[in-house]
Symmetry: C2
Subunit: 194 residues, 2 copies
């Protein structure tokens, strides 16, 4: 079934009966987006937490000079959303745009609140997800302070081995917080070093 990958993902954190899976299925929407379409747009309230079943998306924002800043890159089994906007119900600072055709499972705010009531384990599931996300974000802050761009790039390559063939390098550069020219230079060095 279409939701199988979502259920498998959730089952890594909590146990789910078939009946509970059915309840979840009743509370989510399956939706397809085309490449270049926006799952979330800067200025709109982020209405869904979207779990990516297939495809690939970037989360970014435009600063006052119109420069694009990539916050995160997401592929299968990742979440795409502006969580800050989703939980506060305030306009989003970010865009989430598809880099490939995407199939996503969407949880609305109301659906999630209902799920927390009907399946209390879901509260635990999202706690665990958020814990992990927080730890990862913290480590990223740290690496950005303490490591030069080249090492950050090498870590990125280990951490996301699949993503590099799928998304253009100028987006990876932006994610790493450097310019595409400098990333190009780093890559040339790495190739020379073997």
């Amino acid at each position: 079934m279409e939701l199988e990958s979502l259920f498998n993902y959730i089952k890594k954190f909590i146990t789910l009966s078939d009946a509970e899976c059915d309840v979840i299925a009743d509370h989510v929407k399956l939706r397809d987006y085309l490449k270049h379409q926006f799952i979330v747009q800067q200025g709109d309230v982020c209405k869904y937490e979207s779990f990516i079943v297939s495809g690939c998306a970037k989360t970014f924002f435009l600063d006052t000079e119109g420069n694009e800043h990539v916050v995160s890159l997401a592929i299968e089994n990742w979440w795409a959303a502006d969580l800050g906007s989703f939980i506060s119900r305030e306009p989003s600072d970010y865009n989430v745009q598809c880099l490939e055709n995407c199939r996503v499972v969407q949880f609305s705010y109301e659906a999630l609140e209902q799920l927390y009531e009907k399946i209390p384990q879901m509260e635990r599931f999202f706690r665990l997800i958020m814990q992990n996300a927080y730890v990862a974000a913290q480590k990223r802050v740290l690496r950005n302070h303490s490591l030069p761009a080249k090492e950050r790039y090498l870590i990125f390559r280990k951490q996301y081995p699949n993503i590099e063939q799928r998304v253009p390098q100028y987006l990876i550069a932006s994610y790493l917080g450097i310019t595409k020219q400098f990333l190009s230079k780093i890559r040339a060095e790495i190739i020379l070093e073997g």
Copy 2:
């Protein structure tokens, strides 16, 4: 009572009966640390999530060259821990050291697991805490990429108006990801501009 500030903090997110407060009280330890003492040490497993009742602490790590990198600064009603180590039970990458005498409320891993069972609402509480922490960390990643040091410093001052008088500037510089000399330069500029 000593735990009142913790309960008030929790009650901002969920409702707690007096009986539930008593259960929580049975599962936590109140502990005092002196200035300069370590709540967590790099290399040890982080055994507690510590809620600061009074005092002030820095979370930092030493890189391979022995340079100190401040990850976060915490005052009253904040948490101090290496969450990554706490949840994975692996040695911590960070130190948490008191900048003033500190009184903290500590949750051990086992106590927390028991609390989640006895007071399911606590699962929700920590989900909400983690969500907020994650959103804040994400915003910090972003600001570090897209804003110059001066603006990051000004935002820091707005966000933590109390902390600046309590902790030395070289720690604030490290938290911002710049050197103390450069922070000094920025401060001189800001004073000139009025």
